[in-house]
Symmetry: C2
Subunit: 287 residues, 2 copies
């Protein structure tokens, strides 16, 4: 058995993909933990993790790194329940899309157990280990929200992990900044997608949709429990982003209604120039 | 020289791609027409069209099919200016994203010149011949809005063209239905994208964006003149779709603000189930 272990707690879409992507990293054993027997069976049959078990206590005492890949409230609960079970000196981290509440919850950990919040900006609209794939993190951002006391050694380890699983870059920030920006770049995109799908025209529009519609609505087929938690655990920031969107949308609606082509054209020139200036790269649309 | 000719009027992103995709179709000569000398030079150097010219009158008298690939108001103007120049018995069609105004404008054509409105649901956020590519239409919908008097022969020809350039299917509808639905599936997606880019957080969010953000905002880098025309020529339908969106977004915002997790979760379950039921296929995201 390897003398170093990374535990992946929760082998869903992200945890399963992470366990696959980490395979072979610096000689670490990748130990998967999940409470679902069908998930464990799938993991064994498909080599997700070098070892798998339903008992976290089998793994935690020897784990040098623990990736918590549960839903946000599951992470909070796991930290509280297992606060005494981590190996002294180990690094605990996670993958979830809110960070302030998670860093707050990590305060239950004893001194000597480090915590670095982590959010790989990757995913699909599916869930479950059967949709996991090792390439999920390729060209994604790997966001870290360390504690003030997080060690350089652990930060360097996280950077090597990011590189190994194929991330494009590592972005270090505070939990508060992460949550304010993610309300805009991620959570609001999901609210837009579900809102568009609430339109009565949804089913009649089949046959009339192109890549812009598919790109905008893809994530509407979301994991309800996960996103209920993400939205509610970041409600003030999300509310602020949605308020801004309502204003900007309404200004466009007014410009369309006004029949003032000069105004509409100027607004579009302004927004299109902003988008071009932003110039995002990344794995994207095929068409 | 071939004894049958398809004229492509306007060699921009769509016209250029169409000329490339049509190459070799049933022995037709593909004759490209554009008023821009740089565009014509590019077309000659890259084989966009079997022949190219800046003079529509060189081509119209022999063209059996005329694809108008100009901006909407350019199509209206071309139809009016050249109404007497089309070959008797020919088929005139177009590729633009509004149909009621175009079918209306086609009434200037003399008897014996057929018109079928056409909208291939394909495109990218770029413009100009240098971004054209023959594969643009692969797996796209090919929407037709014929006149009542359009001939079966011409409809069959359009279906063969759709198949040749790689479209997934042919959807036949009325101009009014096309415009009502496209306000939702296409124009509203572009209004959402530009509205999201008007948020002050746009530039600070770089490094924190994933595929949902890229998918939603990609089309914000739009062709300002084209989209000003599309929005304004379909303003009532677009206004209606935006009103529906405002209501649906606001209901989600209220659910987030309320702190009522049961309400939020039920709303998400409803919308996500609608999206899954819709089950769109199509060329899509790489991740």
């Amino acid at each position: 058995m390897a003398d170093k272990t990374i535990a992946v707690i929760g082998l869903g879409l992200i945890g399963g993909s992470l366990a696959l992507a980490l395979k072979g990293f610096e000689g670490y054993e990748i130990a998967g933990v999940d409470v679902s027997q069908p998930t464990l069976r799938f993991a064994r049959e498909h080599g997700v993790g070098d070892t798998v078990t339903d008992d976290a206590l089998e793994v935690l005492p020897r784990a040098d790194v623990v990736f918590l890949c549960l839903h946000p409230r599951g992470i909070v609960q796991f930290l509280s329940e297992h606060r005494g079970d981590f190996k002294p000196g180990c690094l605990v981290t996670d993958v979830c899309g809110v960070k302030t509440a998670i860093l707050e919850a990590s305060r239950v950990l004893p001194e000597g157990v480090d915590f670095i919040g982590c959010h790989p900006m990757a995913g699909t609209e599916f869930s479950g280990i059967e949709h996991a794939f090792a390439e999920m993190f390729l060209q994604s951002h790997f966001i870290l929200t360390p504690r003030e006391t997080s060690t350089e050694e652990h930060m360097a380890l996280m950077r090597r992990i990011a590189g190994y699983i194929g991330c494009k870059d590592v972005v270090v920030t505070t939990p508060e900044e992460h949550d304010a920006i993610l309300a805009y770049t991620s959570q609001m995109m999901h609210i837009i997608a579900v809102s568009v799908c609430d339109d009565p025209m949804l089913f009649t529009c089949k046959g009339f949709e192109g890549s812009s519609f598919r790109g905008c609505t893809r994530v509407a087929a979301l994991d309800v429990s996960l996103w209920t938690q993400l939205f509610s655990m970041n409600a003030p920031a999300l509310d602020k982003a949605l308020g801004e969107l309502e204003e900007n949308l309404h200004a466009y609606r007014e410009a369309v209604r006004s029949g003032d082509l000069k105004l509409l054209s100027e607004k579009l020139a302004y927004s299109a120039a902003r988008k071009r200036q932003m110039d995002l790269e990344g794995p994207d649309l095929l068409e």
